[in-house]
């Protein structure tokens, strides 16, 4: 590391703050609550500032570099979102404030529910789920409860294509239902024959990511939905990839019964260490009574055009219950609301158009240098293979590490699992042509280096403050420690390796 640990900078007796003298009589603390040592570094304020500013400068992030992890991890978060979320009326609102005292916040939630319903074509929305996986969990519980209410306890099977997000099968298991994995055909679509074989009276539903994790639109999505509906199952859409569909396709109009959004992907709220997620669920009328609650409704219509409605919290009639204390991750609701207000309907459509255009531009530019297994027009992302014929020693990981030397953040590695040495590239809508051309040039250069000098890739990154990390050792001997490891521990670790 180029920056020593804060504990290594500690000097006994040094303090960071000057406390005022005590102006009340001192009362000794109970002796059983007293301790002799406090495991904190002793540093000055300026040392702390310099330490953390330097650490932040070692970061490679979307605010510093092109970041082809895309919306999947986190697209650019416009700074105005932060301004709005910090307005005192939002930021200082106590979560136990009664409904009448929180009308502004409720209005934001109500509008957000309404807009998410409009974008998806669904009838009702709950903002409760804390993130995408909880949205999925809510969706599957609603499907289960719907079948139970209709006298079908035997419907316990959920179909999941192998191109789905990994959380989909995990959700099914969490809900106590049974996963049946479906293969993909050679174009990356769901294998329709395999699907029809599984469609029987035990099907509760199907979970499908649209576009899939390969970044591909299912060409036979209507047939897939029809097949599942014909056997009495319900269709769940994983909306993690909505960035490619905003204002273009309404999932409800395709025939889906329920979906979740990831506000932290599609609607630019922070994610991945930057903030909690938010995974609202949207449903058709027949599933609306099962939504997790409470949801925001109008409890009293406005008296005239100068009056505002009175908003309140309502528990849907047959709700699967509460998923989260208070009202979901409200800070994310304000940011997503801001993003939607800034863009407007046409702007959101442009987001999807540019996200798709940028991904396809990079895909076509790279198709002569890399093998792209499902090479057809893609959504907002595409997958290429990070390996080269006749160069056994170069893997996707080496390409990613070399990208760091060129000033680009690596894309997603080794996912989706159905592509060998997968590199999943998602530029997002915010990147201009010059940036994309620079990235393409670097990728072409790396393909050339792989053949001419593979060691350059194997040993990359060469320019980053931290060189190649030992991933095996990191996985097997994880040491999460913000202070120097005591000598005996260190000796033990070194011995073990």
């Amino acid at each position: 590391m180029t920056e020593p640990l804060i504990y290594d900078q500690s000097v006994p007796g040094r303090t960071g703050v000057i406390l005022p003298g005590c102006d009340v009589p001192e009362t000794p603390l109970p002796t059983d609550l007293m301790r002799d040592d406090l495991d904190l570094p002793e540093v000055s304020e300026l040392q702390v500032i310099r330490h953390f500013v330097r650490l932040s400068q070692l970061n490679m992030a979307i605010d510093t570099n092109f970041y082809p992890l895309g919306s999947c991890t986190m697209k650019y978060n416009p700074k105005i979102n932060e301004d709005v979320a910090r307005l005192p009326g939002f930021a200082h609102l106590h979560p136990l404030t009664d409904e009448e005292g929180a009308q502004g916040a409720l209005a934001v939630m109500y509008e957000l529910q309404r807009w998410l319903a409009e974008i998806s074509g669904f009838d009702a929305v709950s903002l409760q789920p804390a993130a995408g996986a909880q949205g999925e969990f809510a969706g599957i519980l609603m499907i289960r409860k719907y079948h139970l209410d209709n006298g079908h306890p035997e419907r316990t099977k959920i179909l999941v294509p192998n191109s789905a997000h990994g959380t989909n099968p995990a959700t099914v298991s969490m809900a106590g239902l049974r996963v049946v994995e479906l293969p993909s055909d050679e174009d990356g679509n769901v294998d329709l024959e395999a699907l029809r074989r599984e469609c029987d009276e035990t099907v509760a539903g199907m979970m499908i990511t649209v576009p899939s994790t390969l970044g591909l639109y299912e060409r036979q999505i209507l047939d897939v939905i029809q097949a599942v509906h014909d056997c009495g199952g319900l269709m769940y859409m994983d909306g993690a990839n909505m960035n490619s569909q905003l204002g273009i396709v309404k999932p409800a109009e395709l025939g889906f019964d329920v979906m979740h959004y990831n506000l932290h992907k599609t609607f630019s709220t922070p994610h991945g260490g930057g903030g909690p997620g938010s995974g609202p669920v949207a449903v058709t009328e027949k599933l609306a009574p099962y939504l997790p609650g409470p949801i925001v409704t109008i409890v009293e219509e406005p008296k005239d055009e100068n009056d505002a409605p009175l908003y309140g919290f309502t528990m849907p009639e047959k709700s699967i219950g509460r998923l989260k204390v208070f009202h979901g991750n409200f800070g994310m609701h304000t940011r997503a609301y801001t993003y939607m207000r800034v863009h407007g309907a046409e702007g959101l459509r442009e987001v999807a158009r540019h996200a798709v255009l940028n991904a396809n531009y990079v895909r076509v530019k790279l198709q002569d240098d890399y093998h792209i297994p499902y090479n057809r027009p893609c959504g907002h992302e595409f997958v290429l293979e990070g390996r080269f014929e006749g160069v056994d020693e170069v893997h996707a990981l080496d390409i990613s590490k070399r990208l760091i030397d060129y000033g680009y953040h690596p894309p997603t590695n080794y996912f989706p699992l159905i592509v060998n040495e997968a590199l999943l590239i998602e530029p997002t809508e915010t990147e201009d042509k010059q940036t994309l051309d620079g990235f393409v040039e670097a990728m072409k250069q790396i393909a050339k280096e792989a053949r001419e000098n593979p060691a350059l890739l194997r040993e990359a990154p060469h320019t980053a403050p931290v060189r190649r990390v030992d991933e095996v050792k990191a996985a097997k001997q994880l040491v999460l420690c913000c202070r120097p490891i005591p000598a005996p521990e260190r000796a033990k670790n070194e011995q073990a390796s």
Partner: protein, 131 residues
């Protein structure tokens, strides 16, 4: 691609486990193809002796720097022995998948469950398009 090895005295499942049958005891591990695809294995979760395993159903997990995968039972029966060495040193799965990297031994209760396993030639052919 690296040259992969599929010993001819073993049987192979479509989910990439191998089986060595001696009497009614099946020794089970994962193939060279599987370990190559997974990359460095860092963790393996195996059942206890006495556990009933069912063909096609998961009996454990293998985790590498790339991914976590289910281990699927290639036969039906009862676990009689578990390779403790591989629990402590999961890298044995990479370095020696067919000998020191074996995972469990199973007393086969349903000999029919072995029927659809592939021989080494068929398994090599099965892997070609997957490389």
């Amino acid at each position: 691609m690296a040259q992969l090895n599929y010993p001819s005295d073993l049987k192979y499942a479509r989910t990439d486990e191998w089986v060595r049958l001696e009497g009614d005891i099946a020794t089970i591990g994962i193939s060279d193809f599987a370990q190559d695809q997974l990359n460095d294995v860092v963790f393996v979760e195996l059942p206890e002796v006495g556990t009933e395993v069912k063909k096609g159903e998961p009996f454990g997990t293998v985790e590498s720097v790339k991914a976590a995968s289910d281990l699927n039972a290639p036969v039906t029966g009862t676990v009689t022995e578990v390779n403790d060495a591989v629990r402590d040193n999961p890298e044995l799965i990479n370095s020696d998948p067919y000998e020191r990297g074996w995972l469990i031994k199973v007393k086969v209760s349903d000999p029919d469950s072995l029927n659809d396993l592939m021989d080494s030639a068929a398994y090599a052919k099965y892997n070609e398009p997957r490389m």
